[in-house]
C-alpha cells in the first residue's frame, strides 16, 4: 500500500508535476498546498481568506479546479498541478489571460489568477458556455473591484478566441 512517511527532519517527502516540471520536495504535515506552491516560488496563487471561500488560491489539479488553501501539501503527491504561471507568460499569454487583460476585467488583479484558472477549467469542459454556465462556474471566485461585469465578458471573449483556433 502506498504510504507517505515522515523523514528524520519530521517532513513528508512527495513528488508531483507542477506546470509540466517534476518536483521532488518535502513538506510539513500541516502545510497547506497553497503555502507549498508559494514557497516553491509560484507567487501568482494568492491567499485571500485561507478558508476556501474566496477562490484566489484556485489551481488545477488533475484537470479539476480546486482551492489550494484547504488541501494539505502532501495531497500533491502523484498529481499534475497547473498554476497561473503554467498557462502563459507576458511574452506568450494564454488566450484567457489576454482576454482578461484586454477587457478591463483586471483591476487590482488579486483575484485574477484564481478566476483565470477556474475559467480554464470551465472552457476545457464547456467550450461554448452560456452566461449562466459562466456565472455558475465562477461563483466561488470573489472579486470586490469589478462587480464581475467585465470578467464575464472576458470569459465569453476567451471562449470565442479559443474556439476559432
Amino acid at each position: 500500500m502506498k504510504k507517505l512517511l515522515k523523514n528524520k527532519e519530521g517532513l513528508i517527502e512527495i513528488g508531483f508535476r507542477l506546470n509540466g516540471t517534476e518536483i521532488k520536495t518535502s513538506v510539513k504535515p500541516n502545510e497547506t498546498l497553497l503555502e507549498l506552491i508559494r514557497r516553491l516560488g509560484y507567487k501568482g496563487t494568492k491567499k485571500g481568506c485561507d478558508t476556501g471561500d474566496c477562490g484566489s488560491c484556485t489551481i488545477i489539479i488533475d484537470g479539476i479546479a480546486k482551492v489550494s488553501c484547504l488541501l494539505p501539501a502532501f495531497y500533491a503527491e502523484g498529481k499534475e498541478i497547473i498554476t497561473i504561471e503554467g498557462l502563459g507568460d507576458v511574452s506568450n499569454p494564454h488566450p484567457i489571460q489576454k482576454a482578461y487583460a484586454d477587457s478591463g476585467a483586471v483591476q487590482c488583479g488579486f483575484c485574477i489568477p484564481g478566476m483565470i484558472m477556474t475559467t480554464k477549467f470551465l472552457l476545457d469542459r464547456k467550450p461554448k458556455p452560456s452566461d449562466s454556465d459562466i456565472k455558475h462556474a465562477l461563483d466561488g471566485n470573489l472579486c470586490r473591484c469589478t462587480g464581475y461585469v467585465k470578467q464575464i465578458e472576458a470569459v465569453k471573449i476567451a471562449a470565442s478566441k479559443i474556439n476559432k483556433k
Partner: protein, 773 residues
C-alpha cells in the same frame, strides 16, 4: 461641453499592468521572499473593555524561535491617529501603538516576532495577563450618556467630549434660515434610516513588511493607500526622524478605504528596529474583519418639508455615527455625510446639519468608499420618493425640478468641508439631466412600470423600479495636494514619477494617458513609477476621489512644462520661433512643415549641445471639488412568499466629466454598484452580547458572487469639467451611493413597503410584508 479631439485621453486603452497581473507576476506585497525574515503577529484583546493589570511575557520569550515580545511597556507612548490624512489630521489623537487599556474585542494587546508563525502563535498562547475587566458599551446612544468612558486617558488630544464618548461632533450647523423651520411646508416627512457595520472585503488582506537597508534606514513595504502619511505617522509614533524612513507601495489587492490607515506599519517597524531583522505582519481574513477598519454604522434622521408644487422648503439632517473604539476619520466621515449630499437639491427656506461620531467598545470604523455620503444618500434619496408620493408628483420630475443646476451654488459648500469650513464653489459641470433621461430609456422605466402594475395584481413575485440621484466630490478643495516629475529619455520616452497610489484603480495608467496626451506621445512611451517616498514626489494618496482630478492636474502641469522645454530645444534646432511649434506624435512640428523628432531633441540635449536633462516637476491642489453626478435605476423582484429580493436590472449613468479611460471608469462604477448592492441585500456584521464579531469570515459575511448579479450596466455621460485635467472629475466612490436608496425605492414600488434598515434580507422583507397586512 466641448467636442475634444483627444489622442490618448478618453481612449479605451489597456491598463498597463493588466497582462502582468493576468499572468500571475509576483507584484503584491507578500510576493517577495526576503532572507532572514521574521513573522510578526499581534495578540488581540478577548475583552471589549479592560485594563492590563499585569502582563508577563517571560514564558513567551522562551519559546523556540521567538525573537521579540513587545508590550505597552516597551513602546513609546505617543498619542496619534491611524487615519491616513493630511497633517494636521482632522481626527483625534486617541490611539497608542500599544496601550495598557483595550477598548474592543480585537484591539491590540501586544506583539511577537518569531522565526515561524507557529512560534508566534505558541508565544502568544503563553503570555500571561491579569485583566481588570471593565463594563463595556456597544450602543452609541447609550455611550453618549457617559456612564462608561472609553477614552479616560489624559494624554489623548482633540477629543471634543471624552466624558460622553463623543469623538467628533457638529452641533447645529444652520446653513440657511429664511423662515421659521417648516412654517411654509405643506407636508413634513421625518424618518430614521440605519446602516450596520460593513467591511470593505478587499481580497488581499493587509500586509506589511519592514526591514533595514544597508544604510540602516527603515524600509516599509506595505499594502497601503497612503505611503506619505505612513512615513510621517510612523516617524511620529516611533519617534524617529522622517528621513530615516522609506515607504514603498507595491501592487495592492484592493483597499476601498480600509488601507487609508496606518494599521500595521508602526508595530511592524518597531519589531524590525528591535530585532534588526526584516519582519512581515500579514493579517488573516478574520483580523481584517475585526481589527482593521469598517464603515461607520449610522443612524440618520432626516426631516424634510415639501409643498404640493414640488418645492423642498426645509431639510434637517442629523447623523449619529458609531465610530468604534477609536476616532479615526470620525469627524470627516461625519461632515462628508452632509457636505457631499445636502448640495444635491435646492432647499428654499431652512437647511440644517447636525451630528456626532460616538465611541463604543466595538471594531474601529474608518474610511470606506462613499465616506458618509453612502449613509446619508440612503436617507435622502428614499425620502425624495416619499415626498414625491405625498404630493402626488412623479419622483423623476420631482428630482429633475429640484437638483442643483449648472452655475448654481449651495450654502453647504462653504459651510461644510472636510473637518473644517469648506470652500465656496458653484457647479461647473453637470450631466445629471442626460444621466436621468438615458437611464430611464435604458431600463425602459415607464413601459415596465405600466406592465408591472398589471402583472403584480396576481403574481406571488412582484416587480418594481426605483431610482436615485447622487453626487460625491473630486478631492478635497484647498487641502489635497499632488505632484509629479517627468523626465525625458533619449529615445523619446518619458519616466513619470508620481506619488499617486494605484490600488487597482488604474491610476498609473490614466495619469500616463494624461501625460501622453500633453506630450503628444503614446501611452507606452510613458514609463510609470509610483508611490515610493524616496523617489516619487508628494501625493496625499488614494482617497476622497482625488487621484484623477488632483494628481491628474499635477501630471498635466508637469507634462506641460516638459513639453515647453522640448519646444524650446526644438526651436533652437529648427531655428524657428516657438509660436510656430507644437508637439505631435513624438515630433515637434512647425507651421512651416519642418519637424524634428523627440529622439533627436533628447540626444541633442543629452550629448551634443548645451547639455541638460529635460525634466520638470509640478504640484497641484484643487481650488474646488467639482462633484461627479449619477442617476441609478434598479429593477427588482420581491418574492412575497419568501421575502427574497432579486435585482433583475441595474443601470448606473455617471457624469464624471471626461472619462480619461472609459473602460476603467466603467469598471470602477460596476464595482462600486455591486459593492453597494451587497450592502443592500446581504452584508452586515453579527455582533455578540460581549462585542465579538461572530461572522468574521467570507463564509458567513457574504459578499456578492457572479451568481448574484444579473444585468449591471454602467454608462458614462460625458461632460467637460473646466477645472479638471482634460475635463475630468472623479468616479471611484460615487457608484456605491446608489443601490441602497434605488433598491429601497424599487421595493416600495413593487410591494408598497418602505424599509429603513439595511440590509434588506428576506426575513426583514417578509416581516414588513406581514406587518403591512
Amino acid at each position: 461641453m466641448s467636442e475634444n479631439n483627444f489622442k490618448v485621453v478618453n481612449k479605451r486603452l489597456e491598463k498597463i499592468d493588466s497582462l502582468s497581473l493576468a499572468c500571475g507576476k509576483p507584484m503584491f506585497c507578500d510576493d517577495i521572499d526576503i532572507k532572514n525574515m521574521l513573522y510578526g503577529k499581534i495578540m488581540f484583546s478577548p475583552y471589549p473593555h479592560a485594563i492590563i493589570k499585569n502582563i508577563d511575557v517571560s514564558k513567551a520569550l522562551k519559546v523556540k524561535g521567538v525573537k521579540a515580545v513587545v508590550t505597552y511597556k516597551d513602546v513609546p507612548r505617543i498619542p496619534h491617529t491611524t487615519a491616513g490624512q493630511g497633517y494636521p489630521e482632522p481626527s483625534s489623537y486617541d490611539t497608542y501603538m500599544l496601550d495598557k487599556k483595550v477598548r474592543y474585542v480585537g484591539d491590540r494587546v501586544c506583539a511577537v516576532a518569531a522565526e515561524t508563525l507557529e512560534a508566534c502563535e505558541e508565544a502568544i498562547s503563553k503570555i500571561e495577563i491579569d485583566w481588570e475587566v471593565l463594563e463595556a458599551v456597544f450602543d452609541p446612544f447609550k455611550a453618549m450618556e457617559g456612564k462608561i468612558i472609553i477614552h479616560d486617558e489624559d494624554d489623548s488630544k482633540n477629543i471634543p467630549d471624552a466624558k460622553h464618548n463623543i469623538a467628533a461632533k457638529v452641533p447645529d450647523l444652520v446653513m440657511l434660515k429664511n423662515s421659521e423651520p417648516f412654517s411654509e411646508a405643506e407636508y413634513v416627512v421625518e424618518n430614521t434610516y440605519e446602516i450596520p457595520y460593513l467591511q470593505h472585503c478587499a481580497i488581499e488582506p493587509h500586509t506589511t513588511i519592514t526591514y533595514l537597508d544597508d544604510y540602516d534606514r527603515l524600509i516599509i513595504r506595505s499594502s497601503t493607500q497612503v505611503p506619505f502619511h505612513v512615513r510621517r505617522i510612523v516617524a511620529q509614533t516611533l519617534n524617529i526622524p522622517l528621513k530615516k524612513i522609506r515607504v514603498i507601495k507595491p501592487r495592492i489587492g484592493g483597499g476601498f478605504g480600509s488601507k487609508q490607515e496606518i494599521l500595521l506599519e508602526d508595530i511592524c517597524s518597531f519589531l524590525t528596529l528591535k530585532t534588526k531583522r526584516p519582519v512581515k505582519i500579514e493579517y488573516t481574513r478574520k483580523d481584517v474583519f475585526v481589527s482593521s477598519r469598517t464603515r461607520h454604522p449610522a443612524v440618520t434622521k432626516l426631516k424634510t418639508g415639501v409643498k404640493k408644487d414640488g418645492t423642498i422648503t426645509d431639510m434637517e439632517l442629523d447623523v449619529t455615527l458609531n465610530t468604534g473604539a477609536y476616532g479615526s476619520h470620525a469627524l470627516t466621515v461625519l461632515m462628508c455625510s452632509g457636505s457631499h449630499t445636502l448640495p444635491m437639491y435646492k432647499v428654499k427656506n431652512n437647511l440644517k446639519f447636525s451630528g456626532r461620531s460616538v465611541y463604543t467598545n466595538l471594531p474601529v470604523a474608518g474610511a470606506y468608499r462613499g465616506y458618509g455620503a453612502t449613509q446619508a444618500f440612503f436617507a435622502l434619496e428614499s425620502q425624495m420618493d416619499i415626498m414625491a408620493e405625498k404630493i402626488g408628483m412623479d419622483p423623476v420630475e420631482f428630482r429633475k425640478r429640484n437638483y442643483i443646476k449648472l452655475g448654481e451654488s449651495s450654502p453647504v459648500f462653504k459651510a461644510m468641508g472636510e473637518g473644517r469650513e469648506g470652500v465656496d464653489q458653484s457647479i461647473t459641470s453637470i450631466g445629471l439631466m442626460e444621466a436621468i433621461d438615458r437611464g430611464l430609456k435604458e431600463i425602459k422605466w415607464y413601459e415596465k412600470k405600466e406592465r408591472y402594475y398589471r402583472l403584480n395584481q396576481k403574481s406571488e413575485v412582484k416587480y418594481g423600479l426605483g431610482m436615485a440621484c447622487m453626487m460625491q466630490g473630486s478631492g478635497i478643495a484647498e487641502i489635497d495636494m499632488a505632484s509629479a516629475t517627468i523626465k525625458m529619455n533619449e529615445d523619446g520616452s518619458f519616466n513619470l514619477l508620481i506619488g499617486a497610489t494605484d490600488l487597482g484603480t488604474g491610476s498609473d495608467t490614466i495619469l500616463a494617458q494624461i501625460a501622453a496626451e500633453t506630450l503628444g506621445v503614446e501611452l507606452n512611451d510613458i514609463i510609470v513609477y509610483s508611490s515610493d517616498t524616496d523617489i516619487t514626489p508628494f501625493d496625499v494618496g488614494a482617497y476622497a476621489s482625488s487621484t484623477t482630478f488632483v494628481s491628474g492636474g499635477a501630471v498635466k502641469k508637469a507634462a506641460g512644462y516638459v513639453r515647453d522645454m522640448i519646444i524650446e530645444d526644438a526651436s533652437k534646432i529648427l531655428k524657428e520661433p516657438k509660436e510656430n511649434l507644437k508637439v505631435e506624435s513624438k515630433y515637434v512640428v512647425s507651421k512651416t512643415g519642418k519637424k524634428v523628432s523627440f529622439k533627436e531633441i533628447a540626444n541633442t540635449a543629452f550629448y551634443y549641445h548645451d547639455q541638460h536633462q529635460i525634466i520638470a516637476s509640478a504640484s497641484h491642489y484643487g481650488r474646488t471639488s467639482p462633484p461627479p453626478f449619477a442617476a441609478h435605476f434598479a429593477e427588482v423582484s420581491v418574492n412575497t412568499r419568501t421575502g427574497v429580493v432579486d435585482i433583475i436590472n441595474y443601470v448606473a449613468c455617471v457624469d464624471c466629466g471626461t472619462a480619461i479611460n472609459p473602460t476603467l471608469a466603467e469598471g470602477q462604477n460596476d464595482g462600486a454598484v455591486v459593492n453597494g448592492i451587497g450592502h443592500t441585500l446581504s452584508e452586515s456584521f453579527e455582533i455578540s452580547q460581549n462585542g465579538t464579531v461572530l461572522n468574521a469570515n467570507f463564509r458567513r459575511y457574504k459578499i456578492l458572487s457572479t451568481k448574484d448579479i444579473s444585468e449591471i450596466k454602467s454608462i458614462i455621460i460625458p461632460t467637460y469639467e473646466p477645472e479638471g485635467p482634460y475635463g475630468a472629475k472623479s468616479v471611484s466612490e460615487i457608484g456605491i451611493n446608489g443601490p441602497l436608496p434605488a433598491i429601497a425605492n424599487a421595493i416600495y414600488d413593487a410591494v408598497k413597503i418602505r424599509l429603513f434598515k439595511a440590509p434588506f434580507t428576506p426575513d426583514k422583507v417578509l416581516k414588513a410584508l406581514k406587518d403591512s397586512k
